[in-house]
Symmetry: C2
Subunit: 355 residues, 2 copies
Amino acid sequence: MLHALIMAGGSGTRFWPQSRRALPKQFLRFGSDRTLLQEAVDRCRGFVPSERTWIVTGAVHASETARQVPEISETNVLIEPCGRNTAPCIGLAAMRLLATDPDAVMLVMPSDHVIRPVSEFQRTVEQTVAIITQDPAALVLFGVTPTYPATCFGYIQRGEPLIGSSGFRVAAFYEKPEVETATQYLATQNFFWNCGLFVWRAATILEQLERHAPEIATRLKRLQAVGAEQWSAALAEEFPRMPSASIDYAVLEKANSVAVVPATFNWDDVGSWQALARLLPADPDGNTISGRHCGVKSTGCIVRSTHQHLIATYGVSDLIIVQTPDATLVADKRDENSLRQLIAELERRGMSEFL
Amino acid sequence: MLHALIMAGGSGTRFWPQSRRALPKQFLRFGSDRTLLQEAVDRCRGFVPSERTWIVTGAVHASETARQVPEISETNVLIEPCGRNTAPCIGLAAMRLLATDPDAVMLVMPSDHVIRPVSEFQRTVEQTVAIITQDPAALVLFGVTPTYPATCFGYIQRGEPLIGSSGFRVAAFYEKPEVETATQYLATQNFFWNCGLFVWRAATILEQLERHAPEIATRLKRLQAVGAEQWSAALAEEFPRMPSASIDYAVLEKANSVAVVPATFNWDDVGSWQALARLLPADPDGNTISGRHCGVKSTGCIVRSTHQHLIATYGVSDLIIVQTPDATLVADKRDENSLRQLIAELERRGMSEFL
C-alpha cells in the first residue's frame, strides 16, 4: 500500500522574522490560504488516505502540526528527538511503516516546498509507483527539469530510459555545481534537479541503509527490539547518535537500482524571500506585497505585514521589508546572505529570543 | 503677575507614524523620559506656579493633555473648537487671563519645541519681563542666534539696543528666505530666528489685536460679553469664523513697540525625523536609534521602535525606519518631502485611519 511521509523539520531562519525556530517555513502561507504543511497534506488526499499519511517533525513543532493538520492522528505524527538530516528520519519512518504494513511503499516529501498543480503531482507519483511495481527493489526520485543554471540544487544525470514508464535509470548524482558547470548540464538536456521527493518500498530503503549506512541501521534495529514502554527512552538514546546525513549521501549516491521520473508539476523549494517573490505576482512598480502597503516612489520591494499592519514606503528600492508583531526586517534584497549574517549577529548580541 | 501659556495644538503629521492626528508631537518623547509637553510645563516651574500655567489645545487632545500633565487643573486647559493658527489662540487665552488677573503678563510658548537647559531659559525670560516692566506696551520676542542659513524659519532683524537690558528693538521681520538670503543674514550678525516664544501683557496683545486684526478682536469681544452658560456655544460659533492667522502676521509685523531678546538657551523646533536625528547621539555607523535594533552593514539610518519591538537592518543606508503597533514607515532620509507625500497618498487611498 502507498503511504505518504511528510518531513516537517526545519530550523526556520530563511524567512525570518516570519519564520522562527518554533515556527519554520512549512507552517507559513505563501500566496495561498493554506500553509505549506497543509498544502503537503492536501496534495496526498485522493490517493493516500489520512491513516496512511505520516508526518515526522520535532517535539517543538508537534503542537503547531496538530493545530494545522488535525486530520492526521497523533499516532501518525512521529517525533524526532533532534534533527539528524533525512537519512535517520526516513529510516525511522520506514521502520514504523513496516510495523503496520509489510508491503508499505513510501512517498517521501518535504513539507515546505511549493508543488502545483496537484493533478500533475499525482500523475508523476503514479509513474513512480509503476516503477516500484515492476521492480520492487527500485529507489525512485522525482527529477525537476532545470529552467536556469541553478547553483543551489543537486543534479541528477539520467541514464537509459526504463521500459514501460516515463522514467530513466540514474547515471550519476552531482553536488551543487558552479554556474559554468550548471550551464553545461542544462545544455545537454540530460540533467534534472534533485527536488528531495522519493518513492520506494519501506523494506527496500531499510535494506539499503543496512548496506550503505550501517551506523544508522544498527541503531534502528536496537530501537526495533525495544517494547512500547521503553520506546521513548530508547529513541532519545539512539537517535541523536545516528550520523547526521542526507538520504542522498547515505544511500542514493551509493545504491544501484536508482531511477528518476521527470516531474510534470511546477516545483519550487522557496529557499528565500527573493525566491518567494519570484513566485508571486508583482504590482506595477515591481513590488511583491502581502498585507497592507502604501508606497510612493517605491520599486522592486518585497513587503509583508501581519494583522492589518500598514507598511508605508517612500523613495526606496529593492528592499525586503517584513513586519511581525515583535520584529521587523529591513534588508537589501540584492544580497542573498543578509539573513544568515543577521541571524549570526542576533545570536552574537544575545537576542536569540527573536529567533 | 507672570503667566505661562503653552500652545498645544498640532496636526501630528511630521513624525508619522509615531505622531498621529490624535497624538501630535508634543505628546511624544524625544531623547528624554518626559514628553515635549511635560518638558514645557516643567520648564515654567519655579517662576510660574501651576495655577498660572495655561494650556490651549484641541478637544481631541484634552484627555491626553490631562493624562500627561495632571498638575494643570482642568480650568487652566482652554479648548479650541478648531485650529485657527496662533493669533486667535493667543487672543482667546489673553482674554481668559485678563478675567483672572488684570495685570497678567503672558509668556507664550509652543508645547513641542526642545529648549534646554531650563536655567538659561529662565534667565532669558527674566530679561523679557524686565523689558515689559520698563515698557508695559512692549511686545517681546525671543531671538535665537542662527547657526546655519536655515530656510525653514522666519528671521528677525534687530535694531537699536534697549537701555538697561540685553534686548533690541526689532527693525524688521523676514519670511522664510532663500538660502542665499539666509547666508547674507548670517554674515551681518544682525538677525535672529523667530522661535515663536513671546512675552507681553495680556491687555497689550488684546489692544494690538483690536488695532491690527479687528476681525479677530470683534469676535473675541462678543465672546467676552456672554455668560458662563452660553460660553461653549458662543465659542463654537465665533472661533471657527476668526481668520486663521499667525500672531506674527496679524500683529507683530505691523506693531511698533516690538523688542527681541537673544535666547541664551539651545532651541530646536524638531520639525522632522531628520531634525530629531541631528539632536540625538548616533552610533559608530551613524545610525540614530531609539528602541531595539540589530544592524549589519547599515549606516546613517534613523531607527525607532516601540514596546521592545526589534528592528533588524541589513545593507541599508540613510533610511528612516519607524515602527509603531499598527503602522511602520520605511523612507529615504534624504528626501524631506517624504512624509507630506506619503500622507497625501494615504488620504487618497482612503487609509486615513492611520493618520
